[in-house]
């Protein structure tokens, strides 16, 4: 018994320049906000960009984008709808407002299915919004997506960084390409995360302050791109 789906993934992703997974061992550090804003920033720069939400049990990017009333089209595969210039894919198209209680094996299966049937165009970048943790989704990207790169998000808190550190060391051990660590909702200026990132031999991408205007901007692309948060994302990740 062979699962044919894995055999087509290379071909499905073959026309994509770079595939970047915005990831964190820790939840709630801003992965979804960074991934979405990063993707929108790249669109503004004129790149062809896709955004793929792999956080199946707590998807957020559709809320950040305000992506209502869109749906993929079924052709010789699934064609992602274009939202604010982004080719956009999320399991939420199929789960709507229902809870999606998936065990890890189901997450893995759904992920493989979506990679096998989604037809992206010639993208310069595919940005992936990851679920928290280092479980099925991360392990599947490592084994199935040849040129995957991880961008790791942390906050300034020890509680986030302890976990992120373990994740970063693991990715290094596995020789998986890691762009660097981004410190989000940065709390003070002691440079502690930056220093520790250096000790890990990883690139510190920069720090982004907590921006109280972000919450209001969720669901409104123009407002979001006008926030100090988005300007900082563009400054740090605008030329990836």
């Amino acid at each position: 018994m062979v699962d044919p789906r894995k055999s087509i993934i290379d071909q499905r992703l073959g026309k994509i320049g770079r595939i970047i997974a915005v990831s964190s061992g820790k939840g709630g550090v801003g992965k979804s906000l960074v991934a979405t804003t990063f993707a929108l920033t790249l669109v503004q720069k004129g790149y062809n960009v896709g955004l793929f939400d792999l956080d199946f049990t707590s998807p957020s990017t559709h809320i950040i984008l305000g992506a209502e009333d869109v749906q993929p089209i079924e052709e010789k595969g699934i064609i992602p709808p274009v939202v604010h210039g982004l080719e956009y894919m999320s399991l939420v198209f199929y789960t709507k407002d229902h809870a999606t209680p998936l065990r890890g094996a189901d997450v893995s299966n759904a992920l493989i299915e979506l990679f096998a049937i989604t037809i992206w165009s010639n993208l310069d970048f595919l940005i992936i919004d990851m679920p928290p943790g280092i479980g099925d989704a991360m392990l599947d990207l490592i084994r199935l997506v040849a040129n995957i790169e991880f961008l790791i998000v942390t906050t300034s808190s020890r509680l986030a960084f302890e976990t992120v550190k373990k994740q970063a060391v693991l990715l290094q051990d596995l020789k998986v390409s890691t762009i660097g660590i981004l410190e989000n909702m940065k709390m003070d200026n002691n440079g502690c995360i930056q220093a520790q990132t250096g000790e890990l031999g990883l690139r510190f991408l920069g720090g982004i302050s907590f921006d109280p205007t972000v919450e209001e901007a969720i669901g409104d692309k123009s407002q979001l791109l006008g926030t100090a948060f988005a300007r900082k994302v563009a400054e740090i990740l605008g030329e990836p």
Partner: protein, 132 residues
Amino acid sequence: MHEWALAEAVVAAARQIAKKEGLKEVKEVVIKVGELQQVELEIFEFALSKLEAQGFEGTEFNISLAKTELQCRVCEHKWLFDKTNLAEDTVEAIHFVPEVIHSYVRCAKCGSPDFKLLKGRGVWIERLRGAK
């Protein structure tokens, strides 16, 4: 129509298997299609026939359906998938990504969404018959 994408996957996998096993010619690819995914067989077969051109000229694609068996992890109740009482949207969602069944279907005995797909999920290759 995304059956085409699944057919492409089958052909790509068959090519890989044939290469790995050193087959010069693939005579038959035995394919199982789980009922859960509600694959439209005509489209799937049509896609396979078109894809045959790509190195599978004489190959027979032998497709058969498999019932979908589910088992509850809470009460161990087993049952067969039946779309009769599901909304059209739901059946379509399951058609694209079978796992979303966990958002819509519950164990008939205890109401849990925590069940396993014992068999009959999607498309898989049972075996290849070929000549070296």
